[in-house]
């Protein structure tokens, strides 16, 4: 057993070597360095087309590994295969359901931990992705490396099947096909080999309907894994998607008859909050609080998602112009039920 302090020293040495290798390095060296910190994870699955394998990133020399929370981990034995081919049985330390993140530990030392980037990267940054995609790296073979750039740094708006993804924080959207079967838990590194993020699970954009290639930024990854290691419970904050009836503000929308009814204003109750804010019949609602809404249902959900008491701004199109209407603090449903101006 190596004394603890010595272990840290060796770890630091390894890190130093990795970084110095990368700063003066070709993409080949960066790829090799990054791949040292990526592990292949094998667990449960194989049913209903779900994969039984994914990827993970070594966070610390003493065996902490970050990966994506998934059914692969629902297993008696989770196996981790390191870049050098060694195989370890891993223990699930805990999960962060909001970030869909899990931390495993293996009984090993002197592991080549990933070196995190210190700041967020911007769109256009060249990156490499390293992962066990499609499980093509068999036995002790090294994980697969791909290249591309960060396409965008945006909040995640995505769905898995019919359900919204729990994480709505910032992600790196990537301009190459990184999110494949087996890729979740893989690493995104910059041109110096520094860890920028962890490849997430397969998701569809709820804005554009397309499959997403994205990664959880490393600061979120570290915050989540620290919370898991510290044993703090991480609850999923349920987003409030209860629709808010705009009738409570005196705004009568056209009846919701279609699959996606356009949110036209049918009438505005005189003297109501809506009327005071300048809304008028035939206005077409296009945005709530600066977020585009494409249907009556979406508009009412978007108003519901604004916390009561926060300022409510509705944007409408009227006679070919966009008009912003300020409605003041969004009332609670109870407040809204209070009389609104003159009865029609």
């Amino acid at each position: 057993m190596i004394p603890c302090r010595a272990m840290v020293f060796v770890g630091a040495l390894l890190v130093a070597r990795a970084v110095s290798a990368a700063t003066e390095s070709s993409p080949q060296l960066v790829a090799a360095t990054a791949a040292h910190s990526v592990v292949k994870i094998y667990g449960a699955g194989g049913l209903r087309g779900l994969e039984a394998y994914q990827s993970g990133i070594i966070l610390s020399p003493d065996g902490r590994i970050a990966t994506a929370m998934s059914t692969v981990l629902d297993s008696e034995g989770i196996d981790c295969v390191l870049d050098d081919g060694r195989r370890f049985e891993a223990t699930l330390l805990g999960v962060d359901p909001r970030r869909e993140l899990a931390v495993l530990t293996i009984d090993a030392a002197d592991l080549p931990a990933a070196v995190p980037a210190e700041e967020r990267a911007a769109a256009g940054t060249r990156v490499l992705a390293v992962s066990n995609m499609f499980g093509v790296a068999v036995g002790d073979e090294r994980a697969s490396v791909q290249r591309g750039v960060i396409a965008s740094v945006v909040p995640l708006e995505a769905r898995r099947g019919a359900a919204d993804a729990p994480y709505t924080g910032t992600v790196y959207v990537l301009d190459f096909t990184t999110n494949n079967p087996g890729s979740p838990g893989g690493a995104i590194v910059d041109s110096r080999g520094r860890l920028l993020g962890m490849i997430g699970k397969e998701l569809r954009s709820s804005a554009g309907g397309i499959w997403l290639n994205y990664a959880l930024p490393v600061d979120e990854l570290l915050a989540g894994s620290e919370a898991i290691v510290a044993g703090r419970s991480v609850a999923v904050a349920a987003a409030d998607t209860t629709p808010f009836d705009l009738g409570l503000l005196g705004i009568v929308l056209v009846p919701d008859l279609l699959d996606r009814t356009p949110p036209f204003v049918e009438a505005v109750v005189p003297g109501s909050t809506g009327a005071r804010a300048g809304l008028a019949a035939d206005d077409l609602l296009i945005a709530v609080g600066g977020r585009a809404v494409g249907s009556r249902a979406a508009a009412e959900r978007a108003v519901g998602a604004i916390p009561a008491g926060d300022p409510l701004r509705l944007s409408v199109i009227r006679k070919g112009k966009v008009v912003d209407c300020e409605l003041g603090p969004r009332p609670t449903v109870a407040e809204g039920r209070a009389p609104q101006g003159a009865a029609p």
């Binding site: 060249r126 945006v154 077409l284 912003d324």
Partner: protein, 665 residues
């Protein structure tokens, strides 16, 4: 951009090192990265977000199916006066307004002005956007595959442009309408610029326009390393017309070519549609196109490349050689392209001509005259050659004489005429040539009782006993089809029958076809299905190979190839017909509705099919049948009836008679 200053200077330093030629492999990566950012920064102010407006008629699931955006997309400011280009995907025809989010976050309303229909581009007008930088187009002829391309969009984030990097994959796609890139593009950055590494704009990212999109919707390619952009240079050229509110449609010339090889075939005009731009400009069947707008044309593909990027209303120069060999004269026609052609009404003489070798200019030999048809009433008898054809209508001029037409030339000349029109045929029998006037009639729909007998093809017939049954295909064919081949006729018409899928076909099934095949002199191919329960895509390739194998045993008459089927086999017959394209001249199905989302091409000379439809056992099926008939007839195809013969096997006799008369002219 929140690029830390320290990092930036580091990048700059490394660029200097790279430029200084240090033998350091890592630095060019960073220098390129810095160049990508600089290029994006140049255009970022001109890239805007386009939000779907719910007021557009097509929304929701149906909208997605129709290839219409349900989420944010991108646009490009081409003039700070408030002109923004976007794609039809983001702003469909039905949209009366759109919402544009400017780089500073302001939402402004936009009104669609004009559209470039073939390129799928719409020009929007907003209030002036003075902050938008001027954009610089890259001249098309400076583009080269392999150069860096960057797709810039605002679909992901209105605040910061998204960046995806790739290379130019091809400079000529969709018959010259688009360039191709391997940069990741999706509906989120449709409408955004595709720029080069210097920040100049190559084009506007869009789904693949025009014809190839029929096979695969452009939007389905987003994850495949295949993206397209329409040339900005092309768009700027028509910007004044779009700004004036014009909708620019694809330009149609109105001709068909003699060769069936739509790529490498000689650009010899087979037919000129009545009332088409080509007809009004004086182009004639037999003309060989040698140049379009000064661009040399050697093959049909060259002509298509020259015409496809042009719009309706554009006047093009078409240079043709008219006449044969040394006597050919060079003629220049200046047709003004049209948005649409008057519907084609197929006119026939009521004859079947003997199959010929496509490459030879042998006069067509009349093999059979349809009893009671136009030619029969005019006294035309089988066995003579058609030496010439002269339209006698008022519109015709002296030069319209089509001398010694080949089969293709005869078909082409007829395609330019209408039912009711009169032609003078020069008919040669031995050394005598007699002139006979025939009033053309409408294409028939039902299968006549009398059809060209097997002996008309020059064979000796031979009856049922002389019919041969052969397995087609080599050892690599999983389920070798059976072929029923009558004695005598060569080249032989061919019918491909798809019954219920049940694996390999057996000889007993073939026996049921022998009588009909012998009586009509038609070869029948009976393919098997790989899967015992269903026809699948795997079986389609086998059909094409079966046709080739049969051709090796007995030459096929290319003008008489038909597919037919019942139930699931009928549905599969539609798919096979689609795959065979112009090689298939007829489709007959029973209890087999047209597959959903199946594209029906308008009947054009050379692509028109003769179809027989039957079935409709219950109300629902009967309604579908009526709808299918209407749809096919509206597209200009001849649609007849396939009678119900109960469950006693395929209607072999009717189908074989039909195949024998398919090449009706």
């Amino acid at each position: 951009m929140n690029w830390p200053l320290g990092m930036l200077s580091l990048v700059m330093a490394s660029m200097v090192v790279a430029v200084g030629g240090a033998a350091n492999a890592g630095e060019p990566t960073l220098a390129e990265e810095a160049a990508f950012r600089a290029a994006v920064a140049q255009v970022a102010g001109a890239v805007v977000r386009i939000e779907p407006v719910a007021g557009a008629a097509v929304t929701g699931a149906a909208g997605e199916e129709a290839g219409v955006a349900s989420g944010p997309s991108t646009g490009l400011v081409v003039d700070p006066a408030g002109l923004v280009v976007a794609t039809t995907f983001a702003v469909p025809e039905t949209a009366r307004e759109a919402v544009v989010v400017l780089p500073d976050g302001r939402r402004v309303a936009a009104k669609p002005l004009g559209r470039d229909v073939p390129r799928g581009i719409v020009l929007l007008k907003t209030d002036p956007i003075p902050a938008a930088p001027a954009i610089e187009p890259v001249p098309r002829d400076l583009l080269a595959p392999g150069q860096w391309t960057i797709a810039v969009g605002r679909g992901w984030s209105a605040a910061e442009p998204s960046v995806s990097v790739g290379i130019l994959s091809a400079v000529d796609r969709g018959w010259g309408l688009a360039v191709q890139t391997d940069a990741a593009v999706s509906p989120m950055n449709y409408g955004g610029p595709l720029i080069d590494i210097a920040g100049r704009v190559i084009g506007v990212v869009a789904p693949l326009p025009a014809e190839p999109a029929k096979m695969m919707r452009g939007t389905e390619l987003y994850d495949a390393g295949i993206g397209f952009a329409v040339s900005l240079e092309d768009l700027l050229a028509v910007l004044p017309r779009l700004a004036a509110g014009e909708s620019l449609a694809s330009g149609i010339l109105g001709i068909s070519y003699r060769s069936r090889d739509a790529i490498n075939g000689a650009p010899v005009i087979a037919s000129v549609r009545q009332g088409s731009p080509a007809a009004r400009a004086g182009l004639r069947p037999g003309d060989r196109i040698v140049a379009v707008d000064g661009r040399l044309v050697r093959r049909i593909a060259d002509a298509r490349h020259a015409v496809a990027p042009r719009h309706a209303g554009d006047v093009i120069d078409v240079e043709v050689d008219r006449g044969r060999g040394d006597e050919a004269t060079r003629v220049t026609a200046r047709p003004a392209l049209a948005a649409a052609l008057p519907p084609w009404r197929r006119a026939i003489l009521g004859v079947v001509v003997a199959a010929d070798d496509e490459d030879e200019d042998e006069p067509a030999r009349i093999e059979w005259v349809m009893p009671g048809g136009a030619a029969d009433r005019a006294g035309v008898a089988a066995g003579c050659h058609v030496a010439s054809l002269v339209p006698l209508d008022g519109a015709s001029v002296d030069g319209d004489v089509v001398e010694t037409p080949s089969n293709a030339a005869l078909a082409g000349a007829l395609a330019g005429l209408e039912p009711g029109g009169k032609v003078r045929l020069g008919l040669r029998r031995g050394d005598d040539v007699t002139a006979t006037d025939v009033v053309l009639e409408e294409m028939i729909r039902e299968v006549p009782d009398e059809v060209p007998p097997p002996s008309a093809g020059g064979g000796v017939g031979g009856g049922v006993d002389a019919v041969r049954v052969a397995r087609l295909g080599g050892a690599d064919v999983a389920v070798p089809p059976l072929a029923v081949i009558p004695a005598g006729r060569s080249p032989v018409p061919v019918l491909i029958w798809f019954g219920s899928p049940h694996g390999a076909v057996d000889e007993a099934e073939a026996t049921a076809w022998k009588g009909a095949a012998a009586a009509a002199g038609v070869a029948v191919i009976l393919p098997g299905s790989r899967d015992r329960r269903e026809w699948s895509g795997d079986d389609i390739g086998g059909v094409a190979r079966a046709i080739e194998s049969l051709h090796a045993l007995r030459p096929l008459d290319a003008s008489r190839v038909a597919v037919a089927g019942r139930g699931p086999g009928g549905v599969f017959a539609w798919l096979v017909a689609d795959r065979l394209g112009t090689a298939c001249r007829g489709v007959a199905v029973f209890d087999a509705p047209l597959p959903r989302r199946f594209e029906i091409d308008d009947a054009e000379p050379g692509t028109a099919k003769w179809m027989l439809l039957g079935g409709g056992r219950d109300d629902d099926a009967a309604r579908r049948l009526v709808a299918d008939r209407d749809r096919l007839a509206r597209a200009g195809h001849a649609v007849g009836t396939l009678a119900d013969l109960g469950d006693g096997g395929p209607p072999a006799a009717l189908l074989c008679r039909w195949a024998a008369v398919l090449g009706l002219l």
